[in-house]
């Protein structure tokens, strides 16, 4: 029999590395970041306290910031639902007994696997070039080619397409969720004469809703932080006309190109607050659409 104290000692011995790392690499930086957000700081001279000026500048006089916030919202709120919808659609297509499903699952997952890499961003940049295969495909369908690097909103769509293209990991999670729905539910519904759409909206969606909730939260956070594609595809500029200047990229430029460390810290805090609000909204809304088996339904 171990004494109470000994048990506690063992526990903290094992999770000790986490606590030390959490304090050193998370808590101290967060507090420092909060402090810097109220200062003007260029990394080389001492930080100068300027109160709320950084935040005021962001929302009143920095047009680039407001634009960056706007396109990031578009990127997140168009990209994430399309990606999840796509993932669900393909997962439903693959939720059959066919032996080829294993192969298809692998193929559809591959873009997700490599999607975060520089190589894929370079590839994306080149297939959307003026003479790239995307424009060739458009022309062969009789559609006018798009100047993806000439028009800010087209450039943003290029990033959204890249995000949708990586639907594979959400698809795998949905597929695992679909497989756990008892087949008898569908059979019972069929006996009662339910149509495909009725089965989808009354069985599939409610049964899958916890998984959808989880995916929606994680993907929203991740999308808000998207950096590599915007950085590579625009060659670090965020162009054309700031069309791909996603929040993270602008923050990076403010911090490490212009050395506005105080301003960048303030941006990071606004980002944290936005993400916290979004996550809470998704959580709170889940009361109305997420169905948990153990509660016996709504």
């Amino acid at each position: 029999m171990q004494s109470q104290i000994k048990q506690n000692l063992w526990g903290y011995l094992f999770i000790g590395p986490f606590i030390i790392g959490f304090l050193a690499f998370t808590v101290i930086p967060i507090i420092a970041s909060l402090y810097f957000s109220f200062t003007s700081y260029d990394l080389f001279s001492t930080p100068r306290w300027i109160g709320l000026d950084n935040f005021k500048e962001m929302f009143t006089s920095d047009a680039r910031y407001l634009n960056s916030l706007k396109i990031t919202f578009i990127y997140v709120f168009v990209g994430v639902p399309l990606r999840l919808g796509f993932a669900l659609l393909v997962a439903m297509l693959l939720n059959t007994a066919s032996r080829a499903v294993g192969l298809y699952r692998t193929l559809y997952y591959l873009p997700s696997l490599i999607g975060g890499s520089v190589a894929v961003a370079i590839m994306w940049r080149n297939i959307f070039g003026d003479e790239g295969i995307v424009n060739i495909a458009l022309m062969s369908m009789g559609i006018d080619p798009v100047r993806w690097f000439g028009d800010p909103s087209a450039a943003l769509w290029m990033l959204i397409f890249l995000s949708i293209w990586q639907f594979g990991s959400s698809m795998l999670i949905f597929l695992a969720g679909l497989k756990s729905i008892p087949q008898s539910y569908y059979e019972a519904a069929s006996v009662d004469g339910a149509s495909f759409l009725q089965k989808f909206s009354n069985i599939t969606i409610p049964m899958l809703s916890p998984v959808i909730l989880f995916n929606a939260i994680m993907q929203t956070i991740a999308a808000f932080m998207t950096f590599v594609p915007a950085y590579i595809i625009s060659k670090g500029t965020g162009g054309p006309l700031d069309g791909t200047l996603l929040y993270s990229l602008y923050l990076f430029k403010q911090g490490f190109e212009f050395f506005h460390m105080g301003y960048a810290s303030a941006m990071a805090w606004v980002m944290l607050i936005i993400i916290a609000i979004l996550t809470s909204i998704i959580f709170l809304s889940s009361k109305f659409w997420v169905h948990y088996e153990s509660e016996g339904g709504r």
Binding site: Q7, W10, G11, Y12, L13, F14, I15, F18, I19, G21, F22, A24, F25, T26, I28, P29, I30, A32, S33, F36, L43, L93, L94, Y104, L107, Y108, Y109, L110, P111, L113, I114, S117, V118, A119, I122, M123, W124, N126, I127, E131, I133, I136, W165, Q166, S169, L172, I173, N215, I217, M218, I221, F224, M225, I232, K235, S248, F252, G255, F256, A268
Partner: protein, 279 residues
Amino acid sequence: MKAKNIKKLLYHVLVGGFAILILYPVIWLVMSSFKRSNQIFVTAESLLPSPFILGNYAQGWEGFGDYGFSTFIGNTLVFVLFVLVGHLISCSLIAFGFARLKFVGRSFWFAIMIMTLMLPYEVIMIPQYIIFAKLGWLDSLKPLVVPAYFGHPFFIFLLVQFIRTIPRELDEAATIDGCNTFGIYRRIILPLLVPALATTSIFTFYWTWDNLLGPVLYLNSPSKYTVSMALNMFLSNESVSNWGAMFAMSVVSLIPVFIIFFIFQRYVVDGISTSGLKG
């Protein structure tokens, strides 16, 4: 019977065709890397390189400046190895603590850990940079590697979930046989944890291999560049329109990712399906 077969055929044409469409850009990248640079966009609509050349690979492999691409691959492998060792040791210890030991404040710290999972890196990026700069750690691997020895919330969570499925009777039997707590971790849990550690290793490899932001922040000398940074350099020099070499090295950077995926596919798919790891 016949109608059923037609339906089946249609399904495979649709789903298989769509898979090819999705992967077409990757196929195009690979095939283009065997084309002459000045041919890549002129013949973009055709997949088959004519003439078929390997010169892009030779040229890309030379790298730039005094450093060949093998240097960048070597640097990246060292980076991955240090992070990997850190994650395996720290995450397994911490996960064991959370999953098996009863101590005051356990659920508090577990909740904290889950919260850090959702914390955007951007919030801590700037102060971390300033701290590491003050420590004189810039232009070294230290800022990128040292935090790995203090655990990673995703993997701790994954391992905790896995340890919870291991029967507690094994621990109790070991205690009766005279094992102390560390002995239970070392002799009972660790050997059974291998599949989850494999998943941890694979994702650590992917994320470290692909990491661009970290190396861009902390590494300055070309001699220390990682593969991601080298590709970024190719892109900055793109004005010389040497697409061939850039495409070839992009393909090279993807090869290890594909190889590991095809060998360890089961762990990857299980890892994502059960824990919701982003791939």
